[in-house]
């Protein structure tokens, strides 16, 4: 039981990162109406930019800042594709575009980073913060958790209280109408892409040392991210936050149970399956069908 608890706590930092990724996925879906399969790949691009700069001898802090900027740029690039050619497309087409782009990004990423070639991932936030019932809780875990909570609350407040937030909500509900009343729709949409790109990059930097650190594995963290977003029904940031942390904890717990520890990668899938089966109870005819 104790080992289970230890392992679950070990899943905390991953959980925090999933939560951030999940909140970003909802952010993108709610504001620019795209279910984004490239979310984690964008973050991975930023993370590897940081690693490359660090390996070239740049101190950690500027490397991290440049990495976050690179993530924002990568997000911007995807945003440019989406806003240039797919503004009027339906949700399904947009999702298909990001799924197709994911293949290309992973291919480019693997090539640039040397495939499975090992890189040194500096621990951005090293060390142990405190002991909880005899279990070490790392600073990385504390940071991702605090960051995910802060990001969730900030996003909520920003959308609810600021003028830009109001414009963003208008953009998400009726892009055409928003454009007609003079909101700079494209600029805002690109802003959303850049912000999610930067935030995702930072989240991945923190947990990259805990993962098999190749470009493809980091890109595929989009699966737990979307699972967390589904828990929030692609609308509730808080539910996604809790969902992401839960997925991390369950993964951690599963990896402590001997016979099934190998299968912890299947946890997000089972969560997705359960959430979808549960959420379609009340499905009804809407315009989208």
């Amino acid at each position: 039981m104790d080992s289970l608890f230890t392992a679950a706590v070990a899943g905390l930092s991953a959980g925090g990162a999933y939560a951030i990724l999940g909140v970003c996925a909802i952010f993108t879906y709610r504001l620019v109406a795209v279910v984004n399969f490239t979310g984690a790949a964008i973050g991975a691009a930023g993370t590897f930019a940081m690693v490359a700069l660090f390996e070239l001898g740049m101190p950690l802090l500027p490397a991290v800042l440049f990495g976050v900027a690179a993530g924002a740029l990568a997000g911007l690039a995807i945003g440019l594709v989406m806003t240039t050619w797919f503004t009027g497309s339906n949700a399904s087409t947009k999702a298909a575009v990001t799924a197709a782009l994911l293949v290309g990004i992973i291919a480019v990423g693997l090539r640039l980073t040397g495939g499975q070639h090992p890189h040194y991932f500096p621990e951005i936030i090293p060390g142990s913060a405190f002991r909880l019932a005899g279990v070490e809780v790392t600073w990385a875990a504390v940071t991702t958790l605090v960051l995910s909570v802060a990001f969730t609350l900030l996003t909520e407040q920003f959308l609810a209280r600021t003028r830009t937030g109001l414009q963003l909500r208008a953009l998400s509900q009726r892009p055409m109408a928003a454009e007609l009343i003079g909101i700079r729709v494209r600029l805002l949409a690109l802003g959303v892409w850049a912000v999610t790109g930067g935030v995702t990059a930072f989240a991945l930097m923190i947990i990259a040392p805990l993962r098999s650190p190749d470009f493809a594995s980091l890109s595929l963290l989009v699966v737990p991210a979307l699972a967390a977003a589904l828990i929030g029904a692609f609308s509730s940031f808080r539910a996604a936050l809790i969902g992401g942390v839960m997925i991390g904890l369950i993964e951690g717990g599963v990896s402590a149970i001997g016979p099934v520890s190998q299968y912890r990668g299947a946890v997000p899938f089972l969560v997705i399956l359960a959430v979808l089966l549960w959420s379609q109870r009340g499905a009804r005819w809407d315009e989208a069908r």
Binding site: V35, F269, A283
Partner: protein
């Protein structure tokens, strides 16, 4: 229709035979070996085309299904099960079916994006599982035994080609059947499909099950092709690349599947010969898919469009009556459709307020009223597309509450939509059969001729909107339902055509036996077609009775035309 699918199937079979003979006799052994992979990937692509291209659900785990098939094939090989590869791969395909259904289940009543998420999740999970359990015989290097008659590389090519041919021909038949039409209808509009009595869950699940089966077979073939397998053959990246290529090439067309297979297999070969890294291929596929999605046209569709341009253009042929229409269907006399105290609220807005309406059997009843009066809400409620309403709706005296849209349609309430929702990839005959169910060739022809529609082999995408509106009505009528709800059938139709349409609608009860509830803004059409009309305004019935009398009532003129009482009286 039947002979059309035979012709298409025969063409496919013949083309494959010629292609196969050319490859078999002309190409050197190395290239035959490579081309074998083209057809194996082609089968996987066809399976993906079925779900994604035809039914419009994004599947990102197609290679995982193939992996299930390959794993089972490898296992049967290891234990030396009887029957050989042909039987093993069939069992492998069948083993993938329950997996496919289990993954399809959560996406049944939700939109396609959810399926994309759940399939990506499955692909990731399958990767972990496969990496752990490994393929049967992987560690002992046990080769999967090929069928004795097809043991050489050239022989195995024939075996793969034969399998590809059987699958392609069967798919040709299925895609032209009512099930195939149902898939396209579901992709285009689930609501319209349900209104034609199609069970959406059944259509989606069948697509997923058949797709998983075919994909499983491709996995079995791959096992025989490579001998030993590793989990990387079926990784998530492979599934994603397959998705990108299917999207780019148009894998739901036989042509697109082969073109896609060639790209996946031969492009890396080309890159290898040019001393370029082979993973550049995936970048190319991603860009190609994005390009195809932005233009809305796949490579296969582009080629077919260009080929059509080369052929002399044929004018759209009108249907010619092969014989007289069968006698009208007899439905129970009395009130066919009755609406009692129907109330519908959207939040605080009351869209319909205690509405009462009767449509006697064998009549055309008009329903008019200004925009926003609640006419289409009434149709939605009757046809079963509203989640909740108060009051009751009765078909031939029996209440319809708690009955789904699909079941109501099957019971005999058919509707059309304000804008046409016919899938443009269908042919005229396929759409009518989709709407009507089993219907004889001569009845189909005479029905189309009666409405002045084009012939059954005409592609919907080639006919104008006015004609599609006619087909909407023709489809509903062909089902011989006791009650037909027509929602502004003349919208977008020219004045002359609208008058003709009015005559046709007026004749529906005596010719086909159905009662009609007609919503229309064209008053000439309404006068011509209806024996009684009901007028709505702000969700209430404000007048009902004989057309001439009702339309002259001041309250109706005020509501409908905005004419003030005094002006009208003058």
């Amino acid at each position: 229709m039947k002979h059309a699918s035979f012709r298409a199937a025969a063409t496919t079979a013949l083309l494959l035979a010629v292609l196969g003979a050319l490859i078999f006799f002309l190409l050197p052994k190395y290239w035959v070996f490579l081309v074998t992979a083209v057809f194996i990937v082609g089968i996987a692509l066809q399976s993906l085309g079925l779900v994604t291209g035809r039914t419009g659900m994004i599947s990102l785990c197609q290679m995982s299904f193939a992996g299930v098939g390959a794993w089972v094939t490898g296992y049967l090989n290891l234990i030396g099960a009887p029957g050989g590869l042909a039987v093993w791969m069939l069992i492998g395909g069948l083993a993938a079916v329950p997996v496919g259904i289990a993954i399809g289940l959560p996406a049944l009543r939700l939109r396609g994006i959810n399926l994309a998420i759940v399939t990506l999740g499955f692909a990731a999970a399958f990767d972990t599982v496969l990496a752990t359990i490994t393929f049967p015989g992987q560690t002992t290097f046990t080769q999967v035994v090929r069928p004795e008659a097809f043991d050489s590389d050239k022989g195995y090519f024939l075996f793969v080609l034969l399998t590809y041919g059987v699958i392609a021909v069967v798919l040709e038949f299925v895609s032209r059947s009512r099930l195939g039409a149902a898939w396209l209808a579901v992709r285009h509009s689930e609501r319209a499909a349900a209104a034609n009595g199609i069970s959406i869950p059944r259509a989606k699940l069948s697509a997923f099950a058949i797709s998983a089966f075919i994909s499983g077979i491709s996995g079995g073939l791959l096992a025989g092709y490579l001998g030993t397998l590793v989990s990387e053959n079926f990784s998530m990246m492979q599934s994603l690349a397959l998705f990108a290529v299917a999207t780019m090439a148009g894998a739901h067309f036989a042509l697109g599947a082969i073109a896609g297979g060639m790209m996946i297999v031969l492009f890396p070969e080309l890159l290898r010969r040019l001393n370029l890294p082979q993973d550049v291929g995936n970048v190319f596929f991603a860009l190609g898919a994005v390009q195809a999605l932005s233009t809305g046209e796949t490579i296969a569709e582009t080629w077919m469009r260009l080929a059509r341009k080369l052929r002399p253009t044929r004018a759209v042929e009108a249907a010619t009556a092969a014989g007289s229409l069968p006698d009208k269907t007899s439905h129970p006399a009395g009130i066919a459709l009755e609406v009692r105290d129907l109330t519908v609220r959207y939040g605080t807005v009351t869209a319909l307020d205690k509405v009462n309406l009767k449509v006697p059997a064998g009549t055309v009843v008009g329903l008019v009223g200004p925009n926003g009066a609640g006419k289409s809400t009434l149709v939605d409620a009757i046809a079963g597309f509203l989640y909740r309403y108060d009051g009751s709706i009765l078909l031939n005296g029996s209440p319809l509450e708690a009955i789904s849209a699909t079941s109501r349609s099957k019971l005999g309430i058919r509707r059309t939509w304000q804008t046409t929702r016919i899938a443009p990839e269908l042919r005229v005959g396929e759409y009518i059969r989709l709407a009507a169910g089993p219907i004889s060739e001569s009845e189909l022809e005479s029905l189309l001729a009666w409405f002045g529609c084009p012939g059954p082999e005409t592609l919907i995408s080639t006919v104008d909107v006015g004609t599609r509106r006619l087909l909407d009505v023709a489809g509903a009528v062909a089902s011989r339902a006791p009650v037909i709800l027509l929602d502004e059938p003349a919208a977008g139709v020219s004045y002359d055509e609208a008058l003709k349409l009015g005559e046709r609608i007026a004749a529906i009860p005596e010719t086909f036996g159905s009662a009609v509830l007609l919503i229309e803004h064209d008053m000439d059409l309404v006068r011509r077609a209806c024996s009684a009309i009901t007028v709505f305004d702000f969700g209430r019935v404000i007048a009902a009775g004989a057309p001439a009398a009702v339309l002259d009532m001041p309250v109706v003129q005020k509501a409908y035309m905005g004419v003030e009482f005094e002006e009208a009286a003058e």
